[in-house]
């Protein structure tokens, strides 16, 4: 099995889809010659040309909106929004248009559009270049939401997103781009709506997304030293959500921690907690703990930024709290 970085895995999925299908094309800011601000699309211009690897003006509304129009004509556009903070500039098209055309038309139209974006703290960009806004989109019927945490997952999930007939908001985490991992020789599509159990355990389930999957795996190892057996589950797709796998895990362990980098309040952990308490109420031995960022715009100074967003020790603390309830 070859080893790819998370960045290369995204690129590999894009290149394979572009090779396989004339209807696939990519557009976004700085994605052509520069290869994207994160270097994800490097080399694609050379292989596929400027007609299919299209630099755009700084016009997030028009980028997403023209993707919608092309998708409704049967193309499978992949648009890149450079930072998820800038998704805010395209919200009208995403929320009012992409998500709703199918229903508003009574099923006449579909919008097979993939919106790739990235974010995440840990490099001190300040408040407008590192937010984690995935929960906003989970609240919109008609969208699908994916957040992949490993090279294998990001490749297989991106492929499935491109070939899904619905608009998919596809989140990548900036600090994961250099992460290496083995991927299968042949790209295996990973179905949307299937969680992945990264580590099996008996005492506590940690349901984590994005960077926090890796922080949770570190916390799980530390907990093991203390005699606590931790299961780590990554939903991978936030919408639709694999409730079955998550509830089964918590019924087994009877305790649960949710973990993401986004602010805790109103975050995806709140939705997870609601789903879990309803599906595993009689099994729970402790309140569900939520780990997330403190309720503040991301500050610039590295020490403050580090304090605002969660890390492995925050997950470990939450694990200990659930166990301490007996």
């Amino acid at each position: 099995m070859p080893e790819l970085t998370y960045r290369e895995a995204v690129r590999d999925a894009l290149a394979r889809a572009l090779r396989a299908d004339e209807d696939v094309f990519v557009m976004g800011e700085d994605i052509a010659e520069m290869g994207g601000s994160m270097g994800v699309t490097q080399g694609l211009l050379q292989e596929f040309g400027p007609g299919r690897i299209r630099n755009t003006p700084i016009s997030e509304m028009a980028i997403v909106g023209s993707g919608i129009g092309a998708a409704m004509q049967g193309m499978r556009p992949i648009v890149e929004i450079m930072y998820e903070d800038f998704l805010t500039l395209s919200m009208e098209q995403l929320v009012n248009q992409a998500a709703k055309h199918r229903t508003m038309s009574g099923g006449q139209l579909k919008v097979p559009l993939t919106i790739r974006t990235q974010g995440g703290a840990g490099w001190s960009p300040g408040a407008q270049h590192a937010q984690q806004l995935e929960a906003w989109f989970v609240h919109v019927p008609g969208l699908k939401v994916v957040f992949a945490s490993t090279p294998e997952d990001v490749r297989g999930l991106l492929w499935s997103s491109i070939y899904d007939d619905n608009p998919v908001v596809f989140f990548e985490h900036r600090t994961l781009y250099p992460l290496k991992g083995h991927v299968p020789d042949e790209l295996e599509p990973i179905p949307l709506g299937k969680a992945r159990v990264h580590r099996e355990g008996e005492d506590v389930s940690v349901v984590a997304t994005g960077r926090l999957v890796h922080e949770s795996l570190k916390a799980a190892e530390a907990a093991e030293q203390e005699g606590i057996s931790v299961e780590v589950v990554d939903p991978r797709t936030l919408l639709p959500l694999d409730e079955e796998t998550i509830i089964a895990s918590v019924r087994k362990t009877t305790r649960c921690v949710t973990a993401h980098e986004a602010v805790t309040r109103g975050g995806f952990g709140a939705e997870l907690a609601a789903v879990i308490q309803h599906g595993a109420f009689d099994w729970l031995d402790a309140p569900i703990e939520r780990v997330g960022a403190r309720f503040a715009p991301l500050p610039f100074a590295p020490a403050m930024e580090h304090w605002v967003v969660p890390h492995a020790d925050d997950v470990l603390t939450a694990i200990r709290r659930t166990v301490a309830r007996g």
Partner: protein
């Protein structure tokens, strides 16, 4: 599409009387449809929020008559005229307004979301300028696939103040996609007059095209022949690979913004003058010199068709409540 003839005046294209009569019939159909919608809404039969296009019939008919069936449009909240002109039968539109499965959006859309993909109506949009970027994307697809088709966005003067408008025209011109931006300039953004929302004279709004280096074609939006010829020229320009066109049509909204709008913001005398001098149907009837008998016969026929659309709609099928979630995902 219909053919254009060179008539007596050298250099000036004219449309045959037969074609104009066809336009007249369509415009009158829209007018009577809209009047019926107003009546049925006031009678309490129609749910929702309705905007009629009384006064703007020539723009809808002139533009859509210049299009091929495979060309696509995106419409606005004031959508009924566009939908009729693009070829959706009125009974399917009326059924939509009654929320029936037989409606053109099967009861999921309503007045502000009329769709009919088969005839190239990609949907009416309740967000001002909301449909413009998708038209750019549709036109981009036609360009990428080498298809001889254009995509048309209808919008009003109010929409030209949105960021979406500027982003869309900028991108369309940059990529020279075959799009037509049909600006129905009625001088009102809901209740706000041009003087309070446009920093340039209302009649000069087409100048915004120059900011993008875009081709501008202008026509009197109350003269269906002028609109039609302008739209034909716009389509020809776009299909020749010369890029998109801003098609500026100065028109008049001869009613309120929505049905029931008391129009407390509008000068009564001016509205009366507009109704007397700017009604595109009256203007065309005079031009065609239709006799009273001809007009009465045509009107009776159209009125009966509109009445039949109401009967069709009322006899339609109510959707099952639980089917509300049927099309959330493909």
């Amino acid at each position: 599409m219909t053919t254009v003839e060179e008539k007596a005046e050298p250099g000036r294209k004219r449309v045959s009387e037969e074609v104009l009569r066809g336009f007249f019939r369509q415009m009158l159909l829209i007018r009577r449809f809209e009047e019926k919608v107003e009546e049925r809404f006031r009678a309490g039969e129609l749910p929702g929020f309705l905007h009629v296009a009384i006064g703007q019939e020539a723009a809808a008919v002139g533009v859509c008559s210049a299009l091929a069936r495979e060309d696509v449009i995106a419409s606005t909240h004031r959508a009924h005229g566009h939908a009729i002109a693009k070829g959706t039968p009125i009974e399917r539109i009326m059924a939509e307004l009654y929320g029936k499965l037989e409606g053109c959006s099967h009861g999921y859309g309503g007045s502000m979301h009329l769709y009919d993909v088969e005839v190239g109506n990609l949907g009416a949009n309740a967000v001002v300028a909301g449909g413009l970027p998708a038209v750019v994307g549709a036109a981009l697809t036609f360009q990428m696939r080498g298809e001889q088709r254009v995509a048309v966005a209808f919008f009003g003067d109010g929409a030209t103040n949105t960021g979406t408008f500027h982003e869309s025209l900028n991108l369309a011109q940059l990529w020279k996609v075959p799009a037509i931006f049909a600006l129905e300039n009625n001088g009102w953004a809901e209740s706000t007059p041009a003087s309070q929302q446009l920093p340039l004279p209302v009649d000069k709004l087409g100048k915004r095209a120059s900011a993008f280096g875009m081709k501008l074609i202008e026509a009197d939006g109350q003269d269906v022949e002028a609109v039609y010829l302008a739209a034909l020229a716009a389509r020809e320009h776009a299909l020749a690979g010369k890029g998109p066109v801003l098609l500026h049509l100065r028109t008049n909204r001869l009613t309120g913004h929505y049905i029931g709008d008391p129009q407390i913001y509008r000068d009564r005398d001016e509205l009366k003058r507009e109704r007397e001098s700017k009604d595109p149907i009256t203007l065309l009837a005079a031009r065609l010199e239709l006799s009273d008998e001809e007009l009465a016969a045509l009107d009776a026929e159209i009125t009966a068709a509109v009445e039949a659309s109401v009967e069709f709609a009322k006899a339609g099928t109510d959707p099952r409540p639980e089917d509300a979630v049927k099309f959330v995902y493909a």
